[in-house]
Symmetry: D2
Subunit: 357 residues, 4 copies
């Protein structure tokens, strides 16, 4: 008999359900007796012992369903060790609930923040297996995360839509793509949709270079320019500020995000009409794309296998087209970002895409 | 021999190309000799005689292509009779170019503003045929406009995406749908995606009623609420202001649109997390949906037939499932809005949707 | 208190769930107490008293879900009055189960066959409300049926896909679209996807005219031709046969459908490479399109209203953009087919589409 | 100055245009003067010197366009060394045309057959660069081919559509997926869409095992079963036949493909209703998915770089997430198939999917 606790934490994304279904199908298809405890709304469910017993039926038909049947929430790692508003020690509470329910392990699906807490619980002696969930694809130790390709598809659709209207109106269009710290999503969606300029956090941009590209396109008669901008894109000037100074600057901005700031700057310098579109949370939603369904199912199956083998303390990852188990301590607290020298960046430049650098 | 001038004006939308292809195919398939003059970027092309001669090849493969191969721009009717910055009389210029090119007629694709100018040109003695283009579906004299159903599809997708993330995070989500004056797009996309609350310009809302609905859903355990809000949604209080006062109020708002204002109000009154998503210009872009491709092609064919019959001064419309010709003067300056007593509104209410009224 | 029996019958299609949700939401939102008996797998469930009690939860989240949560099956009308293999009188059995459960009415969702039986039950004294379900759009008494637009979307996608491969390989491609008796689906999908030839049951074709069109395209340098063929397309020659003779001929055909027969004939006469693609049952599946979701929800709401008003013996239909109630006896046994003189056919011809006539 | 010949050969697929655009953009963005000779309809264009001079404009807007702007055709390798029907030595003709046009190199996009001929031309002394195009993903030397992921998306959609109708009607449904020799496409689409049984050429199946799975599902109350079958799926019995014997058997089959044969066998043994759907050529068509657009663009950029570096005799491939150059002789004549022991197969089995083995 295995008692499995399961939870999804952090921003939701596509294929969370597919991944959980993969774990559970693998366990049910084994000879083990299995009980699944689904903790509700992320770590909160574990902290306050809010859970549901789940059966096979709960996992039927969810392969293609977006979101998470368990609900999710953000419980920032920097607050995890502080007591809650009632003085409860949250880490202790999670441990107690784990032992009270006599769990054999926790399956935790989440991104960077989630993995810090997962690693902490593992160090505290709980049996933990994690699965790499994030549309940002910025988890260390895995080439790919589920949710990413689905988000690329949606962001690409968004820029495709904008493309026809930008061309018809001869406008500069900025599409803001999710990604505060890394540019994987913006880079891939931008390349897929034929964006002319791609601005990502890893490669600070120079406004003049951005404008050069717009004008070069004008001179060639293209008449419009598409700019894919990551939420965390930053100018070379701002990149020289301290984190604190930059945060202050952001707070003072009259615009809700850097895209609007950039739009205003381009408009001012070129006199051109610039528009901003922000698909926003749409990028996390909807049915997972086929790639993510297969990928998340495979990760889930491997997690199930680890549980059957009593192997804990790992994230299931994907490296060089092989499923791998990565120690949680190697994952926690690291970020997988795009190197400005990466082959994909060079290829994008060969294709004529400007990074404003 | 027929010399046809053609132009697309106002905000672009899906199926403009399909409609033009319909006109041109019909003319080419007739026994007439035909020359097509494509004026660039809306009325500007006609004013400043910027055009391209188009041949069959230009219209091949564009049935499914978004945007407009002619480009478009907004030339507000209220400025059309004023001279331009160089003192040029724009109406006179259009007439002169029309006669200089010895055109037999103008085919003009556009929405409400476009039709006012088209009607003026018709009254000035030019032969004009128009086609009803707008994602807003607010043109008088036709049950349907092309672009509308494609925009419904995109806005519905947007709310579908938001649905899974709203449910997973137990949030109130506002999706702002295009439509400053009418709510057709918001109402249809909202009903198609299962929105719980739909706010449209035609039915001013009461914030308390909106909050009642959110709380009713909470009490039933739904935990999240989707609100589809038209750009021009307005509260009962604001609806009592004069146009001028309301405009002033909007300008002073700290938020870029009424959706953010509404979000702030709900958040303040309920303490709940409220998020806003604005698909924006995406709603005008991309390949037209099959409905619009068929519909725009049919309108184009009927326009071609009118030209072959030398029947001018009409918009081609669609009433009670019949193609009709509507005198331009009947179309210009009128708005087709949703009656609060319309059967579709009543049905939406039967389904449990709140309009906040 | 109202006791409502509900069933879906005939081939499944998109928006069956949306329609049922519409009925049930309307009833639950009224002041009536309501019990919903969902009969399983079409009339069989009513005949053999296989049903499930359904609650609000069963109808939550199904607006966008394809298929039918009740299951369906075909129970041909011509067999409905014969006893089953155990000698059971099926009509009597349905009546007895209706009375035993003390039902106030039956809500029946189905197409042409389904309506014959529904009308019979109504004449036998049961309270019946029906909703017009079919991808064929061939129900008398309504301008539109739900499922139709979703099927158009899928069939159009299919032809769009084929378009690029046909053009690249310079082939004649036949896409067989569903529709044994009527051509609505083929005509709309064909027009939406730019098919060059459209063959439908209502307009028998002449093989030579089909080949003329292919060769005309060759001479113009197009190099490929797309033919959208309804399952029930028929040549002028075959249209002269008696039903019986034609059926015999079909049975002797070496090919699984008329499309393959046509392909072989074109290949033989022109020496060209001809390929056939049959999307088949795909056309009934998947999530309903936004149009169908709104339309089916509206029909459902109107059905709910009829029940609350104790108005029975009607199909809820849609005429000239108004929701209408159509007496069941007016619907049963009639077919809404395309007139060869219909405006849409003429427009298609203006666009250069050949019907082979 | 570089003179580049370019051709696409074999079955068309998505992202051919994206890949060519990648090559050409890279060359145009370099300091080299470039002339592009586009040979029409595959090797035939090179053999018979049918070509078009292409400019930047020809490659604008084709990133998202399906098919190939050059046209394609199959010129089987086993016939390439035979003279044509007029006695022309085809290999000699290609060489002569290459030299006559003073080409610096040939860029050839194709799959397995194409690579055999490309390798031959390379051995004959021509400068050749190839790009791995096939929806089958069966090219040796690269982890991925473009077209594959787009085809997975379409085949998955197809099975998704069938899913709702299969469930509603409680049927066994067979969806035949492209792939005569390898099962990559079937396996991925099957896993993505939750197929219950997946039959691929690499793992011969046992009919009884297939039926066991169907009956196991029945007993669990699922009531329907989805089988994804590759075109080249083969039973264990047939796998023992010689190639010649099996070919003979296939020719004698009353059904057009193994799927129909399998359907008949299941129907006979179980008495259940079994339906077959064949999306067929749809799988090669339409706009490439975002993954393929990025991937093909990157491959194209790398090919451009090789040309600028005068590096010939290679296919550009992708191994372990790195772009690599693979000697043509290593690619030609080999097949990348699925090992029955592959991790993805094992994971699929953990998820409960039967391969009938």
């Amino acid at each position: 008999m295995k008692r499995i606790g399961m939870l999804t934490s952090g921003g939701d994304c596509q294929a969370l359900n597919a991944a959980m279904r993969g774990v559970v199908k693998t366990l049910y298809n084994s000879k083990e007796q299995v009980e699944i405890y689904g903790f509700l709304n992320g770590y909160k469910g574990l902290i306050y012992s809010k859970f549901q017993m789940l059966t096979g039926k709960d996992f039927s038909g969810i392969l293609t369903k977006g979101g998470t049947i368990l609900g999710t929430s953000r419980t920032p790692f920097k607050t995890i060790q502080d007591p809650d508003e009632n003085g409860l020690n949250k880490v202790e509470a999670m441990k107690q609930n784990y032992y009270k329910l006599q769990l054999d392990c926790l399956v935790i699906l989440g991104g960077n923040g989630t993995h810090k807490t997962a690693n902490l619980l593992s160090k505290e002696g709980l049996n933990v297996i994690t699965l790499p969930k994030t549309i940002d694809n910025d988890l260390w130790g895995t080439d790919m995360t589920f949710g990413f390709q689905s988000a690329v598809d949606i962001a690409t659709d968004a820029i495709d839509y904008i493309h026809t209207t930008a061309a018809s109106h001869r406008r500069v269009f900025i599409v803001e793509v999710m990604g505060h710290k890394v540019g994987w999503l913006t880079l891939n969606a931008g390349m897929a949709s034929g964006a002319d300029i791609i601005l990502i956090p890893e490669i600070p941009y120079d406004l003049d270079k951005v404008i050069d590209k717009i004008e070069e396109r004008d001179q060639r008669g293209s008449g419009f320019t598409i700019i894919a901008v990551a939420e965390g894109a930053i100018s070379k000037k701002d990149a020289k500020l301290s984190k604190k100074e930059y945060k202050k600057k952001l707070e003072k901005m009259p615009h809700p995000s850097v895209s609007y700031e950039l739009a205003a700057a381009i408009q001012e310098k070129t006199g051109r009409e610039v528009r901003v579109t922000v698909p926003g949370h749409m990028q996390r939603g909807g049915s997972p794309c086929p790639y993510d369904r297969v990928f998340a199912s495979r990760l889930g199956a491997e997690a199930g296998k680890l549980i059957l083998d009593n192997q804990y303390g790992f994230m299931v990852g994907y490296k060089n087209r092989e499923m791998v188990r990565v120690p949680l301590e190697d994952v926690a607290g690291k970020l997988k970002s795009i190197s400005p020298d990466a082959s994909i960046v060079k290829e994008a430049k060969l294709l004529g895409i400007s990074f404003g650098d």
